[in-house]
Amino acid sequence: MSLELQLLLLAWGTLVGLDLVSVPQMMIARPLVAGPIAGAMLGDVATGLQLGVLFELFQYDILPMGATRYPEYGPATVAAVSAAHAATGTLGLGLGALVGLITGMVGGLSLHALRQLNTRAVRRAAAALEAGDPRVLERVHAAGILRDAVRAAVVTALGLVLAQMARVYLAGALPPHGVALLNVAAVGAALAAGTAGTLRLVGRGPGLRWFAAGVVGGTVVAWLR
């Protein structure tokens, strides 16, 4: 993969990482968006769509409320698509999922570290903030956004490095049935996480009946296709 493409993916992953919490939360951070766009950059929309759908299911396991800690699947999906693209036909989904899940975990840890850095910056500026100095207020805020951009870039870069390593060391190391097992594990875990996450949201109230009706309808459509 060329350096230009890697830089393009890095820029996209940074925007995606920034969108998750800081600016502007328009949901390009959703794997369903991050993956296909990364795939389009690589000229491989199909792989982008598949991994976007796969990580979107993992995303359903998360409710991003308040100070909760959660994995970050946006830049992770970009890295996953990068890993799977070069390995299409050999490892595909499984390799992408492995790279993506590790990157997602690192992304989650980096969010916690960023919040701690922001907390220190706010404490340092506490006197000026309590005095109502608007310039300090804006500076603290802008610095937080800049820190998040750097964080997102670092996480994406780590993911892309991991993708490169996976391509070099894992692609070809597994026999065909091993590859199939990896793909089954990736898809199975995503479907289980998506179903469990959705059912936690739905609860046991009337929503459960709507969910069941949806499953029946979706199954009928899938069967008829």
């Binding site: 594990a185 479907l191 289980a192 949806g214």
Partner: protein
């Protein structure tokens, strides 16, 4: 009480743009407080001429605006508009503080139900169905456009409602449209995601044949059971990593 500023709309627009960055400096001490302060500052500039030449009233209001706050990011505008309007109306500082504190819980809870557990999974589920049925990139584009129509409209409504009602902002939360949307979003989300799951399962497993399909059914059932019963400890991420590690080991050992 001071009269409302004459050039409110441009300032509301500036405040709205700043609200898109409201969580940019999220931290464990003031949470969204700094971002809220930045967004509110755009609406407080008229106060610079009040309270003396050094803008005592303005600075005091800016300081209050940047204190602890945490709610749903899309509905923060309600608190920003209401607090700024209350400052303009000369509401006592303690009452402005109480207003901000009182809004955290309801705005957080409402936004979580309406957006995180409603509008977002609903629109994303529709996009999943679209992709599974072969629509490809247009389904993704449709998701981004439709989701953000609701997103931006909600942010703008929240800011305007806060600015309109001021300290009486609780009235805005009783709007019939908002109540109806909150009531409908849960069932709609459940129906759409329910329909999306079998279609997505078919889409992702289209390349699997024979034993792989049986294995997939087993992994989904077992994984779901583990996630359900160990929900306090096991996450989708951990399950995924564990299953991939087991699969890689089994595949490597398989003769």
């Amino acid at each position: 009480m001071s009269s409302p500023p004459t050039r409110a709309r441009p300032r509301l627009v500036r405040s709205l743009l700043r609200l898109f960055t409201v969580q940019g400096s999220w931290n464990y001490e003031r949470m969204q407080g700094i971002g809220i302060g930045v967004a509110e500052e755009a609406l407080l500039r008229d106060l610079r001429t009040e309270g003396g030449a050094d803008g005592v009233a303005y600075r005091a209001a800016v300081a209050r605006g940047a204190r602890f706050f945490n709610a749903h990011p899309y509905l923060c505008g309600l608190a920003v508009g209401a607090a700024a309007r209350a400052e303009h109306d000369g509401v006592p500082p303690e009452q402005v503080e109480r207003l901000r504190t009182a809004l955290c819980g309801p705005l957080g809870s409402l936004g979580d139900r309406l957006v995180w557990a409603g509008w977002l999974p609903f629109t994303s589920g529709l996009a999943l169905i679209g992709v599974a049925l072969g629509l490809g990139l247009p389904a993704i584009l449709g998701f981004v456009v439709i989701y953000n129509l609701g997103h931006v409209a909600l942010r703008w409504w929240a800011l305007r409602a806060g600015w309109t009602y001021g300290a009486r902002v609780a009235q805005a939360l009783r709007e019939p449209l908002l109540q109806r949307a909150t009531a409908l979003s849960g069932p709609a989300m459940a129906l759409v995601i329910g329909a999306a799951l079998p279609l997505v399962a078919q889409y992702l497993s289209s390349a699997f044949f024979g034993w792989a399909r049986v294995a997939l059914a087993g992994v989904v059932a077992g994984g779901f059971a583990l996630l359900w019963w160990l929900r306090a400890r096991l996450t989708g991420l951990r399950l995924g990593l564990a299953l991939l590690a087991i699969a890689a080991l089994a595949g490597w050992l398989w003769p």
